[in-house]
Structures are given as C-alpha cells and as structure tokens.
C-alpha cells in the first residue's frame, strides 16, 4: 500500500473517514521508509473516485447481506481511536493473497503495528464477505453463469457494483501502467477482455469480469441460497416441494450450476480435489455407504443380464471406487489356515468315494468282447448310410454308439445315468404320461413355475428330476435339432427366458432368438407314433410347416 499512501501523502492528514462525503483526503500519512512521492493529481482524483465508489458499494452490500441486528458502524475505529480506511485495507489484504501479515497491513493502512489485531478484526467484519462475494461474481464468469450470484441482489447494489467495476475498467483502459502503483496493477490486470461502453451490456460485462478480489480464498465458494437449500434438504430429504427432486444420476452431467444440488456437487469436487484431509473424509464416507450414491433399488449388480456397457469399458475409476464393496476382514470372513508344521498328517483315504471306472475285475468279466474305437476319434463324415443326415441316419448312429457304450461301461452306464440321457429317457415314460407332459410343455420348451405346478396336479407319478430330465433330454434337444436345421445361423438353447409366457400360447409376437417364429413345437401337435422302449424316437408332424416336411426330410 506504499504507493497509495504516498500519493496522497502531500495532502494527507489524519482525517477520519466519512462515508457521507466524498473526501479527497482520506488517508493517513504513511511512515514507510521506502516512501516515494508521486504527485499526480489526476491520478489521485481517479483513485479517490474509485475509493468512493468502493465505499458506496460496501455500504449497500452491508445493508443487503449482513443481518440487520449486527452492529457495523461506519467508519470503523480501532481501539485507540484511529479511523480505518476500508478501501486501503481491502487493497492491502487483497494484494497479499494467501499469506497475510496483519502487522504489515496495519502499518500500511496507517494504523500502526499495534493495531494488527484490530485490522484483522475489522477486515473480517466488514470486508471479508464483500471480498468473497466479488470473488464469486468474478469466478462465476468462468462458467458463464453468474445468475445465481446476482439474482437476489437489489437494484441499488447492482448499480453500485456496476459503477465500481466500470471505474476499474476505466482505470485499466486509460491509465498508463507505469504510473500505476504495483497495487493497482494487479487489481486491474485481472480484468479480462475489453468492455464496450455500451450501457445496455453492462450486466454482461459484470459477468465477464474476472477479478479475484478475495485474498487467500481462491477456491470455489458456496453461495448463500445453495446453503439454504442444503439445510432444507438435510432437514427433510423427501420434501420435494421445497427442495425439488433430483434427476437420475446418469443425467447429472446435463445440468448446470443453476441447480443448487449441482452447485453443491461441484463445490464438493473442488474441495476434495485440493484439500487432502477433506479428501480422506470423503473417501471414507464413500467407502462406508456406497449405496448413498446409487439410484437403483436392487443390488448394484445384475448377474443375469450381460451388461449394457459394451464398448464403454473405459469407465472412470472413481465411479468404481464408490461402488466397490469394502474389504471384509475378520474371523467372519477369512478361513482358518493353520501354521505349516511339516508333513505329519495323513489324509483319510478311506473316506474317498468309490471308483467307477475302470471297472473292477468282477464287473468287467462280461466285457471281454468289445470293439473299441480309438480314443479321441471324431465323427466320420460322411457315413455310409443311404440318406446321410436324415432323421433315420442320425438316429441310427446315435443308437449304435449308445449300445457300444453300454456294453463297454457295464454298470457304470447306469451309475452315470446314461440310460436316461437323450431319448433313452423315454423308456421310463408311459404313453399317457408323455401325452400329459407334452400337453403342458410350452413352445419353445421352458420350465416355468406354473408348468411345474400344473404338471404336478395331473402327473403326480413323476418326480421333479424326471421332469427336468425330460425337458433337457427330449424337449429342448428336439427344439434345438429343429433350430439347427431351420435356422442354422442362430441356435440358442436358452429358452427359459420365455417362461413368463402362458404355456401353449405360442405367441407369435414373442421375440425369439431365431428369425423364425416359434410355431414348430406347439403342444397340440399330432404325433405319428411312439414306441415305449427302444430307440425309435417319435416323429413330430407340424401342421403349419407342411412344405418343410415335404422338402426336407427333417424332424
């Protein structure tokens, strides 16, 4: 502040600051040893104007924003009766930025070293709020939207703000920089972009001003009405009429700072990024309650659906961190691993299960004459049948292999339930039972809960395993066989996604995996013949697909 004081030192006396008049002399003489006298009456006048505008701005600001019952007399006085020039104080502190030495400030303002505490107190009482507000107005410019800051402001204050800022701008535009003291330089150097002199655009100019008035608080601040919203939300989060409702989390990006909750999120982000202790607390909270940040009602994962995020694999790690379950530690989670003390325990071999294959000597007596295929032999195409790949051909080969396997495996064949695999399971079903189950089986075949309960009522002789076995070995197999022939491009055995449809409806609008509508396996189809035992499988005739039947020899 040396420059300021010197400029008016010639004039100066210890006159008290009086806001009611526009004083030319309002500064105490400066006792700084490095005082340089600069005489420039024009400059001095313009500084005076700036100072007076500042004072009027401060006055209306205090009237508007400070509570009515707070006692803030102007001009403020120190303990030993010295009046304080608030403009000087303001500049002095602003210039220092983060590291404010209040002794120096007091000295520069002519208050004396002993009044450093008073200087600080007066600054906090009178100017701090204004500085922060001006800072917000300036910073709000970055986002292009300061309506939050200025929306509730009275016209008088707005006018004074405009005047003050225009004056600052004029200084910037007109005064040569070398004549300015260092103090004013920083002040005006913050203003970005030239102003038009157009009065109509003055509000926009206010927006475009980028001054950092606030000393040491260069972070984003939270405006008052946002804090009011926050307190309301804290009192009653469900009160949508007073606080509004938040949109879905995925849409948050689309909103700007006009929303109070968005303002709070940005504020939090700016604070956590810079303040390490704050960051720690936030991370701790996040870890403890990941559900707070979730909109979903169910668990945060869904194993059933393949994720719809194909292609967006580069999701930010921060979102993963929030939702990740925290580490589970303790006797409830870890296994008890004993210390390694060397090999002295014996594993209990007697509790092991029996060997099924290779057969024991007694079991294999009947298998002396077996012709085995070489191990790992694949299907030999083409086979020697007259009509290769026809129904009969396929059935023949399957049966041949099955018989071979039965001979080879002996008792193991039954132990592994090979007898009820494929169409072999049909040997355990009577005609009547088959009729009943086919009646209820949906198309495509599914095992819906309703299916089970209905079948239970009409077919009590069959257990659930047998019904499941029938489904997997007959219905589904048949369905896929048809799919392979009709639509070889799309074969999918996952038919149980359609279980919520009523059985037998054969709904043509249902979305099937195949391109063809599932009208093949209707429950009411006719069957040509069926044999109880042996290997012939029923031939299904599809009334709706005659041309297929005629053109292809398929099932």
């Amino acid at each position: 502040m040396a420059g300021w004081s010197m400029m008016v030192a010639d004039e100066g006396d210890a006159a008290a600051v009086d806001f009611s008049k526009t004083p030319k002399k309002n500064l105490e003489p400066n006792h700084s040893p490095e005082a340089v006298v600069v005489t420039c009456s024009d400059f001095e006048n313009s500084i005076d104007e700036l100072a007076s505008l500042f004072r009027s701005l401060l006055e209306s600001f205090l009237v508007e924003f400070c509570p009515a019952d707070s006692f803030r007399p102007l001009p403020p006085m120190t303990g030993d009766g010295r009046a304080v020039d608030l403009f000087n104080l303001f500049l002095s502190v602003s210039r220092r930025g983060d590291a404010v030495s209040w002794e120096e400030v007091a000295r520069e303002c002519g208050l004396g070293l002993s009044n450093s505490a008073s200087a600080k107190l007066i600054y906090v009482k009178y100017l701090d709020a204004l500085a922060r507000w001006l800072n917000r107005v300036g910073n709000g410019n970055d986002d292009g939207d300061t309506s939050v800051e200025l929306c509730g402001v009275s016209d008088g204050l707005m006018a004074r703000l405009k005047d003050f800022l225009c004056e600052v701008k004029r200084k910037y535009g007109t005064t040569a920089s070398r004549e300015l003291g260092a103090e004013l330089k920083w002040f005006v150097s913050k203003t970005k972009r030239g102003y038009d002199d157009d009065d109509d655009k003055k509000v926009e100019k206010v927006m475009s001003l980028d001054c950092s008035f606030s000393p040491g608080k260069r972070k984003r601040e939270c405006p008052l009405n946002t804090l009011k919203w926050l307190s309301k939300a804290a009192k009653d989060p469900c009160d949508t009429c007073s606080i509004g409702s938040l949109p879905d989390r995925s849409k948050w990006e689309a909103y700007g700072r006009e929303e109070p909750w968005k303002e709070l999120l940005l504020f939090r982000a700016s604070r956590t990024n810079t303040d390490p202790s704050c960051q720690k607390i936030w991370q701790k909270i996040q870890k403890m309650h990941p559900s707070l940040y979730e909109d979903s009602t169910g668990p945060s994962y869904n194993l059933r659906e393949r994720l719809r995020f194909d292609g967006s694999g580069s999701a930010s790690d921060s979102s993963d961190e929030e939702d990740r379950p925290c580490a589970r530690v303790g006797s409830q989670f870890q296994a008890e691993v004993p210390e390694w003390i060397g090999l002295n325990t014996e594993s209990d071999a007697k509790w092991l299960g029996p060997r099924v294959w290779p057969l024991s000597k007694e079991q294999s007596n009947s298998n002396l004459l077996i012709e085995r295929d070489p191990i790992g032999k694949g299907r030999q195409d083409p086979c020697g049948c007259q009509n290769p790949d026809s129904v009969q051909c396929v059935r023949f080969h399957i049966n041949t292999k099955r018989e071979k396997l039965k001979l080879e495996l002996g008792p193991a064949f039954y132990m592994w339930c090979f007898d009820s695999m494929g169409e072999g399971t049909l040997q355990y079903w009577t005609d009547l039972e088959l009729k009943k189950v086919k009646l209820l089986m949906a198309s495509p075949p599914t095992l819906s809960p309703s299916f089970f309960s209905e079948l239970k009522s009409i077919l009590s002789s069959k257990s659930r395993e047998e019904i499941v076995s029938y489904y997997y070995n007959v219905s589904l197999l048949q369905f896929i066989a048809n799919q392979s022939r009709m639509t070889p491009g799309e074969v999918d055995s996952d038919t149980d996604q359609y279980y919520n449809l009523a059985p037998g409806s054969g709904d043509p609008t249902m979305e099937a995996n195949t391109s063809q509508k599932p009208v093949l396996l209707t429950p009411k189809k006719k069957r040509a013949s069926i044999e109880r035992r042996g290997s012939t499988s029923p031939i299904f005739v599809h009334s709706s697909c005659w041309r297929h039947i005629l053109s292809l020899k398929l099932l």
Binding site: G311, D320, Q332, I375, K377, R379, W416, M421, R464, R485
Partner: protein, 426 residues
C-alpha cells in the same frame, strides 16, 4: 516332460438334473453334457473315474460357519417363507435361489473337490479333475453369485495339510472373491485371478491394488481386464504372470479354476477367448508338473462349456481331439456345426496394449517383494562362512594391532568412548 500323468476324474450322475429355477443362467445340466461328450470321445479310457462322496456338513464347516451350513441343510423351497431374516442374512433367494436338492448338489460338488485334494495328497494321482466344482464366490457366512459352498477353499485347506504353499489360479471372467477373501491374510495360499473389472461388473472387487494384507500382503494377485480380451493378449499376460509366480512362490500344489464364462459369446461374460485360447492356460499350467487340481466354475452357454471342458480334459490327458463331435445322445445340442470350434464374438477389445503392460508391470513389481521374505523357507539357507571371532580383551595391549585386525574392530555408533578417551574407564 515326465511319463504320462495319472488323472482322476470325479463325476456324479445326479448333478445332471439339478435345476436352479426358471430363467437362472446356471445350469448344472452342462456337467452332464460335458461328461457325455468326454465319453463320446472315449477319453474315459485314459483316466480313472470316481464317484465322489457327498461332503459331510462337518467337512463344510472346516471353512463355513456351522450356522450357515446347517441352514443350507434345513432350508428347502417350501419353507423359505418361514425364514426371511436368515434368507437375507445368508444372501439366499435371488442370485442364489433355494431349489430342490440344493444341499445335495452342494454336497456332491464339494465332496468331489475334497476327494480330489485327498487323492493328490496321497499321491494317488497327478492331476485331479472336478468339473462340477469351482464355485468361487461363496463366502464363509453367505452365498453369493450362484455359489453356496466354496469347494475351492475346502479343497485348498485339504491340500494345505500336505503342502506348505498352494497356488490358486482363476480364469473365470468373474473375480474369485470368495477364495481370495478366505486367504487374504495368509501367505500359505497365493491367489491369482484374471477377470473383468469395472462397469460395476460382478462382484465389483478385484482391482490390481488389492494385494492382500498383513502376512498375506503381496500374496493376492488381481489382473483386472476390460471387455473383449482376445487369445493372444490373454495368453501372453497369463504366461508372463504365472511363470513368474511359480518361479518365485514355488507352490507344492496348484488349484486351477477354469470358469468357461471367459469364452466368447457367453451369456454373462464379456471376453472374447476361443476354446483354444482358454485351453492354452490349462496346457501351460500342466507343464509345471506340479500336483494339479482342476475345477470348473462359471459358464452359462451350456454347449460351449461342454466343448471347452472336453477339450481341456483332452489336453490334460495329452490327447488332441478332432473337431468333429462323435455321435452321442446330445449331439443335437452342438448344432449346426457339431464341431468343437465356437465362433468368435463381435466385441471390441478394449484392452489396449498400454493398459495391459501397465497392469503387468504393476503385478511383476509387486512380486518382487515376496522374493526374499516368505514365512515358510523356500530353500536351504547356505551356511555363512566361518569367521573366527577374536576377543578384544584377550589381546595384548602392547602389541600393535595390524590393519586387518583393526578393520575387524568395528566400533558401534552408540559406544561412548572415542578411542582412548573413555571417560568411563577409571
């Protein structure tokens, strides 16, 4: 390469008709299809097939809490309404439904893994296979991710009776969280999991930063991957990491969980591995000639699961299988090609080279920390060379001390005296 490995294979015919419920992706019928396909290729001739004993609740309680095991035993679909609190506490009902014969199913697959571990311990076989097992999400006190009893933990605990260190490798597309959590604090089990991580993919854990804690620090390795990884990237990464791990950790036994949902076109997975790529991992691990326990795991496209595990059985038996599937009762499931090959998926590989190299570097970096400080000694410590100690007090003070002796007289920093100016000396 030593002579043919002896393989034990475990299968129980009752698993084929286990049904989790409508619209549930886990279908134990795939085990039946796998077994059938293996037999169709005649692979049973080269191995011993055992029927596993059904695990007793007391065996399950070696890891799980007894309350949980008892509840699993008692609950059935009819009385779930009577125990809503317990159902919630043990996480049963949604992903882990209560279905008929659920406990018996758990007994079968857990018993098989325990049997497999016991056979390996008794050196009755070199490789043991249990495709029904590998349910790696189950936790000590609750079910998770279609898994009720964690057979892998039970098997590993059994192996730990005979081996100081056991290595667990998990190539399921989901993070092997149950096994990792169980052994998070111990260095006797090293868990390595390759899985998809991010986008809230189940279970949500498995970041590369999770490396274990306390004594188990650096003994948990997580390889988080993005969608669409292909054979070459995956195999390169697998070989690099596993070879280093085996070299440094020197396990006595290896447990390999071969979840087939890391294959392309899996109903729940999102990788793009082919069957050959998946089986390459099995081939690589087999080469170490360390007692190996192979289990199944995830895999929600039945036919591909059957193909994959059949091919891998062939690899473990040193048999290359032809692509043409032989005739069998289930051949219709493998249409329209009736071949062992599966078509690739059309998803973009989001794992860039730089990402993979970053992950690999981090993991290999972490591995350096366990090179020198295992709790159980890995090799004989060579004896120090004998350095004769000389007693200073017995030396003749009148004789000049030669340089070499003087070098050996190392003064400690906290000695008070400075040369001869010892104030304490009277």
């Amino acid at each position: 390469m030593r002579s043919k490995d002896k393989i034990s294979y475990f299968y129980d015919g009752d698993v084929g008709n286990v049904y989790f419920g409508p619209n549930h992706p886990m279908k134990p019928h795939r085990l039946c299809m796998t077994h059938h396909l293996i037999l169709a290729y005649g692979l049973h001739s080269k191995m011993e097939v055992y029927r596993p004993h059904k695990a007793y609740p007391i065996e399950m309680a070696q890891f799980h809490s007894p309350d949980y095991v008892e509840f699993l035993q008692r609950i059935n679909p009819e009385n779930t309404d009577l125990f809503p609190n317990e159902m919630a506490r043990y996480n049963l009902g949604e992903d882990c439904p209560v279905f008929e014969d659920m406990f018996e199913f758990c007994q079968i697959y857990a018993g098989a893994t325990i049997d497999a571990a016991r056979r390996l311990n008794n050196k009755l076989c070199d490789i043991a296979i249990n495709w029904a097992g590998g349910l790696h999400h189950a936790k000590k006190c609750d079910a998770s991710g279609f898994c009720y009893i964690n057979d892998l933990v039970l098997g590993i605990l059994e192996l730990l009776k005979h081996h100081p260190r056991v290595l667990y490798i998990d190539i399921d597309v989901h993070h092997g969280d149950g096994v990792e959590e169980a052994f998070y604090f111990t260095d006797r089990v090293m868990t390595v999991s390759f899985h998809k991580f991010g986008d809230k993919f189940f279970p949500g854990t498995g970041d590369v930063k999770e490396i274990g804690e306390r004594e188990g620090k650096f003994y948990a390795i997580n390889v988080p991957l993005r969608d669409g990884i292909d054979d070459s990237s995956f195999n390169r990464l697998f070989r690099a990491i596993i070879s280093k791990v085996v070299e440094i950790y020197q396990p006595g036994a290896i447990v390999l969980q071969c979840g087939a949902d890391s294959l392309a076109r899996d109903r729940l997975g999102c990788f793009n591995l082919s069957i050959d790529g998946h089986a390459e991992c099995v081939k690589f691990v087999k080469k170490f000639n360390i007692p190996l326990l192979v289990t199944g795991g995830g895999g929600y496209t039945k036919e591909n699961v059957a193909r994959c595990w059949t091919v891998e059985t062939g690899i473990l038996l040193d048999t290359e299988l032809p692509n043409e599937i032989p005739d069998n009762d289930y051949i219709k499931y493998f249409g329209p090609d009736y071949s062992l090959k599966i078509p690739g998926g059309h998803i973009e590989n989001l794992n860039t080279k730089s990402y993979i190299s970053t992950i690999k570097a981090q993991i290999l970096d972490n591995l350096r920390y366990i090179q020198h400080a295992p709790s159980v000694q890995m090799q004989e410590v060579p004896p120090d060379f004998y350095i004769p100690d000389f007693d200073e007090d017995q030396q003749n003070p009148d004789v000049r001390v030669d340089q070499r002796s003087r070098d050996k007289q190392i003064q400690r920093d906290d000695e008070y005296f400075d040369g001869d100016k010892d104030n304490d000396a009277s």
